[in-house]
Point group: C2
Chain length 110, copies 2
DNA sequence: TTCTCAAATCAAATATTTTTGATATGAGGT
DNA sequence: ACCTCATATCAAAAATATTTGATTTGAGAA
C-alpha cells in the first residue's frame, strides 16, 4: 500500500545538509550561475555539481542552461510539493489506534 | 546574521531517512510504545533508540514515560515549526539580486 | 575542424551515518 | 536489599554520503 519512502526521503535530503541550505539561501535572492555559487561557498566544482544534482533530484531547484553556463533557481512547484508533503507526513490520521504496548494484549498499563 | 544551518538541517534529518519515515507513519495512527515500533519495523532495540533520538532532537517527535515504557507521538508544535521553516527556506526574498555570472562583471550574457 | 571553458562523471579517499552486540542506567516489583 | 525488564549508551563494524582530483562531455567561438 503506502508508498515509496525512498522518494519522500529524497525530497528532504535537500534540507538536511548545511552546504545545501547555504545554496538555497543564496538562491532565495534570485537565480544564480554555478560559478557564483562556487565562489560564494568556497567549494570545488565537482562538489557543487554533486549537491546541485541532489537539489535537482529533490525537485526544489530547477536549472536553465544559457550558453556555456547553467543558472539555478528555487522551483516554486517543487517547494509547494515539499510543503504539502511535510504537512501530510506530520498530520495525524483521523482514525487513531489506541496506545498499546507489546505486553498489553488485553490489559492497558493504566 | 543568518542563523545556524546546523540547527535547520537537524529538523529535516527526521525526514530524510526511510526508517524514520516509517516510524512517523506509524505514529500518525497515534501514540506508540517503543516495543511496538521495534516489532513493526523489524529493527534492533539499539537502532530504534538511535532513530528516536534523532526524531526527538528534530522536535518532530515527543515522548512520554509511563512505568517502564516510553510512548512516542508526533509533536504538533514541532511539526508546525518544521512546516514554517520549510516555507521560509524556499520562499524567495522580496529583494532579488540580478542574475550575474562570475565572468559578467559589467556585461550580462543576454 | 580545432580550441576553450563550464559542467558532469568517474574512481579513490575521507567523513559521516547507521547497524550491531555488549554493557550501563533507571524504574517497578518482590 | 534484590531481581527483572525497557531504554540509553558505548565501541566496533558496516553502509552511505561527501570531497577531491582527473577525465569526459558538450556548447560556443575561431
Amino acid at each position: 500500500m503506502s508508498v515509496s519512502y525512498e522518494v519522500h526521503a529524497k525530497v528532504f535530503k535537500a534540507f538536511c545538509d548545511e552546504k545545501r541550505l547555504r545554496i538555497l539561501e543564496l538562491l532565495r535572492d534570485g537565480e544564480k550561475c554555478a560559478c557564483i555559487l562556487i565562489e560564494s561557498l568556497e567549494i570545488g566544482q565537482s562538489a557543487l555539481s554533486y549537491h546541485m544534482k541532489i537539489l535537482s533530484d529533490s525537485g526544489i531547484v530547477e536549472s536553465r542552461p544559457e550558453g556555456k553556463w547553467i543558472y539555478y533557481s528555487i522551483s516554486e512547484r517543487g517547494s509547494i510539493f515539499a510543503q504539502n508533503l511535510l504537512k501530510e507526513l506530520t498530520t495525524p490520521n483521523p482514525v487513531q489506534s489506541p496506545p498499546t504496548c507489546c505486553l498489553d494484549i488485553d490489559s492497558h498499563p493504566e
